[in-house]
Structures are given as structure tokens and as C-alpha cells.
Symmetry: C2
DNA sequence: GCTTGACACGAACAGCGTTCGTAACATCGA
DNA sequence: TCGATGTTACGAACGCTGTTCGTGTCAAGC
């Protein structure tokens, strides 16, 4: 028998599984249901309608089947989320460490992760939930660790720094996704936001005075700013 | 009539509402249903069973009523989440800025937020979703802004720094909540994690070599490390 | 006493994740 | 060639969710 979804998941986390054998796949469909096909269908839904709209039933419908059929390939919905993150991480390629260019290399990886996540609005939710033993995310960690170490960062600072950076990328992209979601009632233009801050009561003196700075930042200026902040700190340790 | 939940929410965001008048509350219950009572009941559930277990039906049951009754006081579940975050933010007191002690003051506020969030596992999910115009979270922003400005940080750096810090606090607490959730299948001791990292294939050389550093950090050492990193960076601009 | 209007809530709807039992097929041994 | 075997696919159902609608029930105003 081919591995059960449970075994698949366990091996993705390098955990021994109370296992069984394996055998070739069989079936009677024109296009058999596979994990890869499920991931493809799911990513399509997330790209079009956001992570909130991702349901087992919709994935099944996209595959022209019923929801029950998915559970032969996927443990549950959380598992599917993890698989999606895994796929996204696999598509990120990591540069060979160049000691002199460690900052640019790290920024590059983070930026690629950011853009990858933003293509699938809200998927960072799954990234935040993904366990630290997932092999695909560990691959990114390995790559970033190699870059930082090559750049001369001390191992402990590098380890914790990577953690902070990946956490920040996930949180930032999740926030951006929520704030630009057209289904969100509170999405608001910069001008509107600025006028609301200026209209605050006098118990918010600093916020009113610096509303311009608080609402500043086009594109991903805020993102770059924070990355620089953290990398500056790492470089100095 | 007392304000509809919609009007309440709008005013919390300083948005004009297409309003109506107001009138004293009436009812025929021993203990009338109020927004405050709903928040209390909801926080009790989250504290005990986590944010995932927060259900309109459970909140209603705690108030000895049916779910429909809540919708006279709360717009929907997202609104309830925002109210919870608002309550938590209200309970955080902000120090009078002391220019010489700005670092300690900022760290103090972030730490209090962290501990507050951690008391209600998973609630940071709602914090990440909360709109940037919510008055209660703006209050924290105002307080931190005042501290940073008093400490001599440039307004733009202060504004973006606050953003990063609050985002990090939410993300960090969310991660910690998920990783220590006893219902989580992947929660694992430090020793177990370390042995899994060491058992990785040879395509993970750095991860295997520095498994100790990657799994290091008791209590909130990682949290303090990142805060220091960001504050160092802010101080230098 | 009667009307008015705000509050509370029972019942229901559509949709969700997940499980169970069964039907349909490919392969293998005889 | 013909079952027997084991695997895949899936219809139907369960229990739960957020939310809405219509009705009941009380306090206040005339």
C-alpha cells in the first residue's frame, strides 16, 4: 500500500512512524487524485479568493469529487495548510553563500518569501501555524543560517535572528493581506486613514501630530525598514 | 434606542455612523446581557480552552442564553475578537515618558502586552486581524510613540518601529501559544526537537551542526533578544 | 388600560470538517 | 480464465459552526 497521509506527514517532520509497506497506486479515475493535484487546486483557490475561502469541499469540487476523497491523501485541513506552505517554500531558491554579500542575500530570500506569500492572500496564517520541524521550512532556515554564518554572524545570534526574520515575514504578509482584502470592511485609503487619525480626540496628541509619519510608507518601505533594523542589529553582535 | 452594535463599532474606529438616537436600556433578565458581560464570558472561555474554542454558542451558553441574543450587542464574531483585544489593551497601563528610561519603558510595555496575550492562548490571532483604526490599540500606539519621541527617536523611525514591535509581539505570542497548545500534535520537548534536528539528512549541515543554538532559549530569551535588536536599531537612527 | 418600542430568544438555514461503509477497479495466484 | 485480494474513490451522514428571521415579553409613556 502507498503511504497513508499520516505516514507522509510524519516523514515530513522526520518522525518515526508506526508504519507499513508500500505499493504502486491504483484507481479508476481519468486523472487520479494525488497530493500534488490537491495542492495545486488548493493554491488556485487561495490565489483567487484568499485563504479564508479555502475549504475541503471547494478543493474537492475543483477536482470534481466529494470532500471524503481528499482524506485518503491529506490528514486534515491543517495538514493541507502545511502542505501549501511546503510547496511555497520549495519554490524559493536559496543562493550559494557569499560572505561579502550576506545582507543582500538575506534580504533577497526574505523578499522572495514575502512576495510568494502575498500571491496567496492570507496563507501566512498557515505559515505561522506550521511546526518548526517541517522539512520544507527547515530548508529555508538552513539556507539563511548558511548565509548568516558565512557573513560572520555568531551562531546564536544567527539562529535567533532567523527566527525573528521568518516570524516577521509571516506576520507582515498576513497583515498586508488582511488590510488589502477587498472583503474587509475596514480597508481604507491612506488619505482616509490619515484624516481619521487627525480627527482623533485630544487624548491622542502624538498620534495626531505625527499622523503623516504613521501612515507613511509606500510599497514595502516599512518591510525594508524593519529588515534593515534587524540586520543592523545582527551585524553588530 | 441604545446604539446598535454597528454604531458602537463605527465609533470605536472614529468613523461617522448613519446614526440614530439613544435611550436607557431595558430588559427582563436577572442579569441583562451587556457587551461587557459578553467580553467577560468570552475571555473566560479563551483563558480556559484557547481562542480556537471560542464560539458564539459557547459564549451564549456561559450567559445562559442562545446565540441569537449576542447579535444585539456584537456585530459578528470578528467584532467580538476586536472587542477582546480592546479590553486587553485597556488593561495595559502606559507610563509617563521618561526620556532617560525610554528603552526600559518600551520593553516594559511590550512585555506586558506579551504576558497579557499569553494569558489568553491564541488571542493574538485577533490582534493581527484588528484594524489599525481601533481606538484601544491606537492608545497603546500613542503611549509608545510618546516614549520613543521623548527618547529622541526621529518621528518616522518611531512610527515604523512601533509598527514592527506590535506586529512582533502579536506574532511571537501566537507562535508560543500554538507551540505550547496541549491539543497540538506537534508540541515537542526541547530535547526531542534537538534530536530531530540532529537526525536530519546531510543536506542540512548547518542546521545539524548548530542544533543546540537553534533550540536554545528558555523563557522569553528569544523575545528579549529580538526586542533588543530592534531597539538598538532605533536608537542608532 | 392601551400602545409603543426595545430587548431576548427559539428555530431554522446554509455551510463547515470529518468519518463510515460500500462500490469499483487493478493486480495477483491458481 | 477466473475468483480473491487489496486499494482507491466517494455518497451519505454527523455534529458543529456563524448568522438571520420572526415572535414573544416586558417596561415606559399617554
Amino acid at each position: 500500500m502507498s503511504p497513508t497521509p499520516q505516514q507522509r506527514r510524519a516523514s515530513r517532520h522526520h518522525q518515526p512512524d508506526p508504519g507499513a509497506g508500500a505499493a504502486p497506486a491504483r484507481g479508476r479515475r481519468a486523472q487520479p487524485i494525488t497530493v500534488a493535484a490537491i495542492i495545486d487546486a488548493a493554491l488556485g483557490i487561495v490565489a483567487r479568493d484568499g485563504y479564508e475561502a479555502l475549504t475541503m469541499r471547494r478543493v474537492a469540487a475543483a477536482l470534481e469529487t466529494g470532500p471524503a476523497s481528499l482524506y485518503a491523501h491529506v490528514v486534515n485541513k491543517d495538514d493541507l495548510g502545511e502542505l501549501l506552505i511546503g510547496r511555497l517554500c520549495t519554490e524559493i531558491d536559496l543562493p550559494e553563500p557569499e560572505p561579502a554579500a550576506w545582507r543582500e542575500q538575506i534580504t533577497g530570500v526574505c523578499t522572495r518569501m514575502r512576495d510568494q506569500y502575498l500571491r496567496y492572500p492570507g496563507i501566512s496564517r498557515a505559515a505561522l501555524a506550521a511546526a518548526p520541524t517541517n522539512e520544507d521550512t527547515l530548508r529555508i532556515g538552513e539556507g539563511m543560517l548558511a548565509i548568516l554564518l558565512a557573513g560572520g554572524i555568531a551562531p546564536q545570534a544567527a539562529a535567533w535572528g532567523i527566527d525573528s526574520l521568518m516570524l516577521y515575514v509571516s506576520a507582515y504578509t498576513l497583515e498586508v493581506s488582511l488590510l488589502t482584502d477587498p472583503g474587509n470592511e475596514w480597508v481604507v485609503s491612506r488619505d482616509e486613514l490619515l484624516s481619521r487619525l487627525s480627527g482623533l480626540p485630544d487624548t491622542f496628541p502624538q498620534t495626531k501630530r505625527h499622523a503623516a509619519e504613521l501612515t507613511a510608507g509606500t510599497d514595502h518601505e516599512r518591510f525594508d525598514f524593519t529588515l534593515d533594523l534587524v540586520l543592523d542589529g545582527l551585524a553588530r553582535r
